[in-house]
Symmetry: C2
Subunit: 121 residues, 2 copies
DNA sequence: TATTGACTTAGACTAGACTCTAAATGCTAT
DNA sequence: ATAGCATTTAGAGTCTAGTCTAAGTCAATA
């Protein structure tokens, strides 16, 4: 699969794909005889995972750490699990924060709708 | 209230408070005779709102737009409501995205825990 | 064969949101 | 009154995560 096809499939840019490869989140992707990337199914699986985690706000740094551990082999399984568990906690907290803000936002909108808005911002 | 007290109360830095004031999210905050900020209750209310919305990911740009509309008076009520409704939608989508990612993360952790991990990242 | 368009690289640039620095002034305690 | 810490300003610097540019290569088409 070409970079363009992958980019379209996952709704991201060619630049971002090359950038992820450069920082070591994916690949190195195989190139054909004339130097053009040809993404494998395994590459696609990784990209999907990375994309999903990035969209949830996991940093490139933490994902890189996870990928590096994975590359080191089975001996890092427990460490990888712990890393993911930490990110799970952070994510749960973030979702909680956002849900609280959403509730406040909804309440304020309700004040607008019922014209019970007070004099403050 | 001094900038330091406000910063502590809301767990942010003096710099951030001055920055928010510079870009027009709050204030201008009153200064005492020797030029030092003295935050009013109204300032605090604003800061709390801004802080909450920022923590949910609303951009400074959009919050500035909201504040500017507020400053223009009652004639902008409907526009403000619409702005908030749009942000509500975005926020709901973001929470959904994050919840989906969280589910995948939990599933992967479960694979680690039960040692059913497949050979992929 | 010439052009067009996709791909490649290295490296510069950008946006957003702070965060820090320097130099000046002010407040408090000794 | 002097030290030592907090505050002020303008403006520079930082960090993250891309995004863009320039210069070059390659394959397919007119």
């Amino acid at each position: 699969m070409t970079i363009k096809e992958v980019a379209e499939k996952f709704n991201m840019t060619n630049d971002t794909l090359r950038y992820y490869e450069k920082v070591g989140l994916i690949g190195p992707v195989k190139k054909n005889s004339s130097g053009i990337r040809d993404y494998s199914d395994n590459d696609l699986r990784r990209i999907e995972f990375i994309k999903c985690m990035r969209s949830a706000g996991l940093s490139i740094e933490i994902l890189k750490k996870y990928v590096d551990l994975y590359e080191k082999g089975d001996s890092t399984k427990l460490e990888r699990q712990h890393l993911l568990e930490e990110e799970q906690e952070k994510l749960e907290e973030k979702i909680k924060t956002m849900t609280d803000a959403l509730d406040k936002l909804k309440y304020k909108i309700e004040l607008y709708k019922t014209d019970k808005l007070d004099k403050y911002l």
